[in-house]
């Protein structure tokens, strides 16, 4: 009896959301999988031809796709570290009882709000004009030159912009985590003579594990899917050195009109990333402390 009831409650609580989610995300995704076996230019009235695994074979030989995947991995690893270090640092700074905390919190949050083409323009200005100016003034022309023209540094430039955007985002989540740690626990540790480093590593970080899981995953998924910054800052250049995965797919689908091939790329990449990240989530989840 009660088991049946539990099931009814389960359905009542989860089905409304899952229904919407299924129609908006799952079904389109499955349709996308079907299209990955089709040769089609994406225009509804034009013919679709079933080609089996052709698209999958093609993508293995697509150097540019492989290169873009590699850029994406590099970009993701660097961003993952930078975003979370900054986000955590910011959240620790703004939750310590400093005079400027409240204002700082709002300021750090603002980069999140500037998006699209304007973001690209502003940062292009910083990396081209402002950097050159600084280089000339300080004589450090090895560091301050036009980063967007160098294949290596253009990628770093994207990491910087992405970090600038996302650090405030993860900060918000880390703040939520930090606020969940009872003050008396930290006070008690202080009384016991634990120094700041000990308080951080022995109390705060373990209790912050859920936030770590969430932030790492969000940064990871954000970095893998990153498109806006790529399009507005470098458009994949110079010479394709910063073409990321999402942009490669976008170009394949809407630039060349290879709909099926684009979908096939998306699915292969999704599978690889999903396996990697779910492992990561599983690992960090295990380290979370139940209260």
């Amino acid at each position: 009896m009660s088991k049946k009831k539990d099931k009814a409650w389960f359905v009542l609580f989860t089905v409304p959301l899952l229904f919407v989610f299924t129609t908006v995300v799952i079904i389109p995704f499955i349709i996308g999988i079907v299209y990955s076996f089709v040769s089609w230019d994406g225009i509804p009235a034009n013919p679709k031809v079933f080609v089996g695994f052709d698209n999958y074979v093609k993508l293995i030989h697509d150097d540019r796709f492989l290169a873009s995947s590699w850029h994406t991995i590099k970009f993701t690893v660097l961003s993952l570290i930078a975003v979370n270090l900054f986000g955590l640092l910011l959240s620790l700074l703004v939750t310590s009882k400093l005079r400027v905390s409240n204002t700082a919190r709002t300021l750090f949050f603002m980069p999140n709000l500037i998006g699209g083409l304007i973001l690209g323009y502003i940062w292009q200005f910083i990396f081209t004009d402002a950097f050159k100016l600084i280089g000339q003034k300080t004589g450090l022309e090895n560091i301050f030159f036009n980063w967007l023209l160098d294949p290596q540094f253009a990628l770093y430039a994207m990491v910087i912009v992405f970090t600038w955007q996302m650090a405030g985002y993860t900060m918000i989540i880390y703040i939520a985590g930090l606020q969940g740690i009872p003050d008396d626990m930290i006070e008690a540790a202080k009384v016991d003579g634990a120094n700041m480093w000990h308080r951080l590593t022995k109390i705060i970080f373990p209790l912050l594990m859920p936030s770590f899981t969430i932030c790492l995953f969000l940064t990871l998924s954000g970095a893998f899917k990153m498109f806006d910054v790529n399009l507005s800052l470098t458009k994949g250049g110079p010479n394709n050195a910063t073409e990321m995965f999402a942009m490669n797919i976008f170009n394949e689908i809407f630039g060349y009109g290879h709909y099926g091939l684009g979908q096939a790329k998306a699915i292969v990449f999704f599978l690889i990333v999903a396996i990697l990240t779910l492992t990561q989530v599983a690992i960090t989840k295990r380290k979370e402390v139940q209260m």
């Binding site: 099931k7 009235a45 013919p47 083409l117 292009q124 110079p238 394709n240 630039g255």
Partner: protein, 433 residues
């Protein structure tokens, strides 16, 4: 209980997917009445037609040129005042138009009138383009600029546009820019005077797309040449006009600023303030120069002197088309609007003075053109024009392949023009295989 639910859920999902994927192509044939904006399908519009014979169904327009969006909205308001017929103008930002159009067509919510680029873009959307051959206004289209597919006229040009070397009349005399030798000498002289001779800019079309048009356009039949190139039967590196083009690119690389450091905004800013003597641009760039007020010098447009060429590259970027998948009433109403746009005084006036187009219609006077448009218009009248061969390039190739190769050319100090050609051959082959 749960199992049954799961089963039903699974069935629904499968049915949905089957419907979506399976019917995709057959759908268009039999569901044409619903193939348009849904909300507007009320019977009242068609029923009221006997009472007021002029009353047409409400239509929608979706078009790519953001610059004219406001004027077009104002114009449609005027149309409604004059005729009582309603027109809704949709908007899209920057280069998002193509994607959004595709999305709207996919959702069977296509606009009634929309715009397509000449060449491969029109080809791709062929099955949506309504045959305009019998519409009255089509006879006014200037020779050779109508959008034709399979012998049928399917689109009316927005207007003609042209590009070449836009120059500062105080700094450059066109007599000194007539072939490779004089072109190079002019660049060198300007460099010695502390001026930038010629500026390209980093946007794909302004970096390579437009300038590479000339060697293609100078081929006996550019379209055939591009087809051969796609099949790998010819090579750019072995073609005379391209070899000369490579030398021009060498001269630009050696004597002027790196275009990778320049954006369209700064390119025109440098030109407007006299730091750059020439830019490879089109008549549209005058809109930007205008923002700088009195320049203190006159501007003009001259041919890019590849192989002694004396012609401007002139073509049609966008065309008005009618969505053939709309229902019959909407097609009728759409054609009525195009007719009004292209023949009424208000419409003709808007095309020239509001949209700032160089008219491609014989019934529209071009009286108040800016200096660059005037040069383009004069060239059109005297036949001193070459076509826009790049409209027939494989889709996406300029942005995705040619531009990266050109970036490499300008960023690698030791890369020569000839190596650049080989690189272009390589990326072309890859993009079309």
């Amino acid at each position: 209980m749960i199992k049954v639910k799961k089963g039903i859920g699974l069935l629904t999902v499968t049915a949905l997917i089957a419907a979506m994927v399976g019917c995709g192509s057959s759908n268009d044939g039999n569901s044409s009445p619903s193939a348009s904006s849904g909300s507007g399908s009320s019977p009242s519009a068609s029923n009221s037609s006997p009472a007021a014979p002029e009353k047409q169904k409400k239509i929608t327009i979706f078009q790519s040129k953001v610059e004219i969006a406001e004027s077009l909205e104002a114009l449609t308001k005027k149309y409604t005042e004059e005729t009582g017929n309603e027109v809704e103008v949709w908007g899209s930002a920057g280069d998002a138009y193509g994607t959004q159009l595709q999305a709207k067509l996919t959702a069977n919510q296509g606009p009634n009138i929309f715009s397509v680029g000449t060449g491969s873009e029109a080809e791709k959307l062929k099955s949506y383009l309504y045959d305009l051959s019998n519409e009255p206004y089509v006879s006014n289209i200037a020779p050779n600029v109508a959008l034709k597919l399979d012998g049928k006229v399917v689109g009316v040009p927005y207007g003609v546009e042209g590009f070449g070397l836009v120059y500062n009349k105080k700094l450059v005399d066109p007599k000194n820019v007539t072939d490779l030798a004089s072109f190079t000498a002019t660049l060198e002289k300007l460099k010695a005077d502390g001026k930038n001779g010629l500026s390209l800019s980093q946007e794909a079309y302004f970096l390579i797309g437009h300038i590479i048009n000339m060697p293609f356009a100078l081929q006996p039949d550019p379209k055939v040449f591009i087809e051969k190139l796609n099949k790998g039967e010819v090579k750019l590196a072995d073609t005379k006009e391209f070899q000369e083009f490579a030398k021009f690119m060498d001269a630009i690389k050696a004597n002027s600023g790196n275009p990778m450091e320049v954006k369209y905004d700064s390119q025109m800013g440098d030109f407007a303030t006299g730091k750059t003597a020439m830019v490879h641009q089109g008549n549209w760039s005058y809109g930007m120069l205008k923002d700088y007020g009195d320049l203190g010098f006159d501007v003009g447009m001259m041919p890019f002197p590849l192989a002694g060429n004396t012609k401007l590259s002139i073509g049609v970027a966008s065309n008005w088309v009618i969505n053939g998948k709309s229902d019959a009433d909407e097609i009728k109403a759409s054609s009525a609007f195009l007719n009004w746009l292209l023949t009424s005084d208000a419409g003709k006036n808007a095309i020239v003075n509001e949209f700032k187009f160089i008219p491609a219609m014989t019934n529209i006077e071009a009286d108040s053109l800016d200096p660059l448009s005037k040069d383009v218009f004069e060239a059109t009248k005297s036949g001193q024009t070459v076509s826009w061969a790049f409209n027939d390039f494989p889709p996406g190739i300029i942005v995705n392949d040619l531009a990266p190769a050109t970036q490499e050319f300008f960023l690698k100090k030791d890369m020569t023009g000839q190596q650049f050609l080989q690189k272009l051959d390589a990326v072309w082959a890859k993009a079309t295989k």
